[in-house]
Amino acid sequence: MKDIHLVTMTVNGTEREMAVESRKTLADALREDLRLTGTHVGCEHGICGACTVLVDGEPVRACLLFAVQVDGRSVRTVEDLAQDGELSDLQQEFSRCHALQCGFCTPGFLMLAEGYLASDPDPSESEVREVLSANLCRCTGYEGLVEAVCATALRRRQTP
C-alpha cells in the first residue's frame, strides 16, 4: 500500500538512487537513506533553516521538499564544503569568527551563505544580515555569523 518511487539525484557530485515513499522529505531521505546527517532538522515547518541545502545551487529547506520533487536534480550538502579534508574558506571564517556554539544550526547557515554568496559576491553587511535572517540560531546572537559571511565575501573578492 505504500507508494514507493525510485528517484535519482546527484548528491555532492555523485549520482545516487533511492527508493522512497512519496511523502518522504528530502531532509529525511538525505539523513536516513544516504546517511548524510550533517543536514539537521530543527522545526520541520520551514522556519529555522537548519536543514538548508542547495538544490541546483539555490538554498532550499530540505524539510519542505519531498525527495521525489528533487528527482533528476543536483543537491549539495554541508558534507561537500570541505575539499580533500581541508575546510572551505567559509568554514574557516565560521571558525575564526566564533560563528557557532552548539553547532546544530551551523550546516544550515553554511549552505545558506554558500548559496547566497554565489549569487551576490559583494553584499553589504545589512544585506548579509537580512539574508541570514532566513535561519535561526539560538546560541550566538548572530554577530559571528554575520562577520564570517562578510569576511568570506571579502576573501573571495580578493582571491580571483
Binding site: H40, C43, V78, C102, F104, S133, R138, C139, Y142
Partner: protein, 770 residues
Amino acid sequence: MLRGEGTFVDDIHRDALHVAFVRSPVASGWVREIDTAEAAAMPGVVGVFTGADLGHPTLTAVLDRPEFVPTAMPMLAADKVRFAGEPVAAVLAESRYAAEDAAEAVWIEIEELPAVVDIEDNARVEVPVHDVAEDGVLLDLQMFLDPDLETTMSQAALVLDEQFSFGRVAASPMEARACLVEWAPRDEQIVVHISTQIPHQVRSGIAQALRLPERCVRVVVPDVGGGFGVKTVLGREEVVVAALAHKLRRAVRWTEDRQEHLMAAFHGHEQRFHVRAAFDSTGSMLALDADIRVNVGAYSAYPFSLGVEPLMAASEMPGVYKVGKYSARGRGYASNKAPTAPYRGVSRPQIVFVMERLMDKAAAALGLDRIDIRLRNTIADTDFPYTGPNFVTYEPGSYVEALQRCVTEVERAGWATRKQDATDGLLRGIGIINFSERTAFGTSVMGMRKMPMTPGFEVAHVRMDPTGHVTLTSGTLGHGQGHETSFAQVVADRLGLTPDQVKLRQGDTDLAAFGWGTWGSRSLVVGGGAAARAADELAGKLRAIAGEIFGVEPHRIVLADGLASVDDKPEANVEIAALAAFAHFQSHQVNVNDSQLLEGRGSFDPPGMFSNAAHAAFVEVDPGTGGVRVTDYIVVEDCGVVVNPLIVDGQVRGGVAQGIAAALYEEISFSPEGQPLSVNFMDYLVPTACEIPKVQIHHLQTPTDLSVLGAKGMGEGGTIGAPVAVATAVNDALAGHGQDFDRIPILPEHIVERLGAARIAGPAEAKEAR
C-alpha cells in the same frame, strides 16, 4: 561540527524502533477511555503502550520542607490529563512516519474540565489541578520577614506599590529533545543516548522510575544542540523510551518535533510580583517587600522541582542594592500548562527587572537622576564583603565601577545626541541597568533548597598516557560553551603542555564517576576548578619523578613548554612525554610511590560567587507600527578572571539575544481553555539576525578567591540584564505617552495602544481621516 560531522542523538544510526506520543488534546480532563486497537493493527506498528502497560512509572520531585506539596508526575497520564500536549500513550513502530500515522488513530475519550490558565483560576475551578492542593498552591514560603518593615514603610518619604509580570517563554534550543535507548545484554545495561545537560541525574531519574540499580543505566551524551535549562530536567518522554527499550530489549528512539517542544516540553519565567518599596527623600531605599507568585504549570520537574523559580526570586531579589528591611514571600501555583524548568537566568531576569524598574520609578517620583539613585543604593567597594538582609554575603565585585563605566561608554557612543534626532519620526530611548548574578552554586547554597538530591560539587579525573597526552573527564556537560577549549587550557597550563595535548571526555556516566552537569553558570568555575585540582595532583607526581631523576626536591621542578626542568638549572630537563613513557614503561626504575599511576583526581565545591554587569540598550520605536528595534547594545561585565575571552563574549552575545527575545518577541500564549497558541516558529518568534544588534562588550576583572581559577561563572548574565535594559529603553522612548510598561514581552500592539492618539496613522488610515 563545521564539516557536518557532529553527532547529535538523531544522527546516531541504529536499527531502532520509533516512538510517537499520543498527547492530550485538552488542558484538563478525566481520561475515560483509551482505545489503542485500531492503531495497534496498523502497518509497521509494534505496539501501543499506556501508563498501565508500563506499570505506571512516576517521578516525584520534592523539596523536604513543610511548605512544599509533593505531586507525582506519571510518565504517561492515566486517569487525568493536566495540560494540552501531555503524553497519554506511546506508539512504537518501525519508522517515525508509521508511528505518527498510528498515533493519530489512538482514540482517547476525555471528559473535559475547566482549565486553570492564570493562577487566579485556581480559586474558580471545582476540580483542582491536584487533589492534594485545592487552592493550587504547591509551595508557599515566607523566606524573609523583617518585623520592623511596616514601621519603616509607614514613615518613609516615598512608598512605591507596584505590580510586574512576565510572559511564559520556552528555551527552545535549535535541537529539541531527543533520545535513543539501547539494550546492552553483555553489560546488562540500558544505554541512553540523550540530549541533556545533566547525564548523571538522567541516570538517577531513569533508575528511580524503572526501579533499577543505577549501574544498569548508562547515559551517553553525544553533541547537544543547545539546552538553556530545558535539558536540566528529565522528561517523561525520555523515561518512557527507556522503559520501552528495557521492556522489549530493543533499541528505541524518539526525536521531539518543534510543536511538541513548544507545547509540551518545559517552559519558564511566568511570574508576577507585587512589590512595595520605601525610599527616603534622597532616594535611599529603606525597605522592600516582595510577594512573588509563579505559575509553575501542571507538575514539578525532576530533579529541581517547581521551587526553583520562587526560591531563587525571593532569596536573590536585592541584587546589587542595599535594600534596608526586607521581606519576601515566594509561591508556586499549579496550572493546566506544561511544567516549568529552569530557563537561562532562572528568576534573575525577573528580579533584576523589578529592582531596576523600582529605581527608575523612585527616581521619577523624587525628581532624581536615574543613575544617581542607583549609585546611592548600590553596594559600594568599601562595603565588601557585604551581607544583605537576605543573609547572602557578597564577595567583592565592581558594582559601582561597572555602572559608571557603562555610563561612560554610552556617552562615548553619542547616544544622548542620537536620542534627540526627530527627523525621521522615530522615538528613541536609552536604558541603563546594573545587576549581579550568583553563579556556581555549591552544595552549601543548594542545600538550603532542601532537595533530596543536592547538586553543587564537581569531580574531575586526569590521566596521562605514555606519550604524554592527557585525558580529562568531567561531570559537567559542555554543549557549545567551549569546555573542550577552556578546560584543556586550564589543565595544560598546570602540566606545562599545550591545550591540544589535553582531551576532555564528558557525558558518559560509565566514564566520569559523577557530576552535576552544566547549568547555573557553574561549569568553568566548579568543573574547571575540579579539573585544575586534578591536574595539580598529576603535576605533583610528574614533579616527584623528575625530582628523583635530577636529585632535587619535587617543588623545584618547573613544568613548562613540554619540559620538566630544575628551577635554577634549566639545562637539567626532560621532555614531559619522555617522563610519561619512563613512568609507564620503566617503572621499576622509579622509587616514587604510586608513580605508575600518572593520574590525578580533584573535586571542588565552592559556595557560589557573584558576577556582575551593567547593560545599556538603545532602541528606536516606530510610532506607526509599534515596532521596536534595538539598534545598539553595550555590556560592561565582570566575571573575575577571564579564562577565554572569545568564549565569554560568545556567552554574553547569545544571552543578550535571548534577553531581547523575552523583552520584545517571545511568549507562549494560551486560549482561555488552556490551549497553547504559539507552538511553531511562525507564532513563537525567536529573533533573527535582523532583530539582534551588535553587542559592544567591555570587561572588568575582579578576581575571587572563592574559586580555584579566580573566575566567576557567567553563562546567564546576558539573559538576565537584557529584558529590563530593553524595556527601560522603550519606556524612555515613550516617556510622556501613557503608563510605563511593567510587563514583558512588549509587543507592537501594546505600544500602539499606549501611544493612543499620539500614534502616527498609517497611510490608509491617514487617507480615511481626510
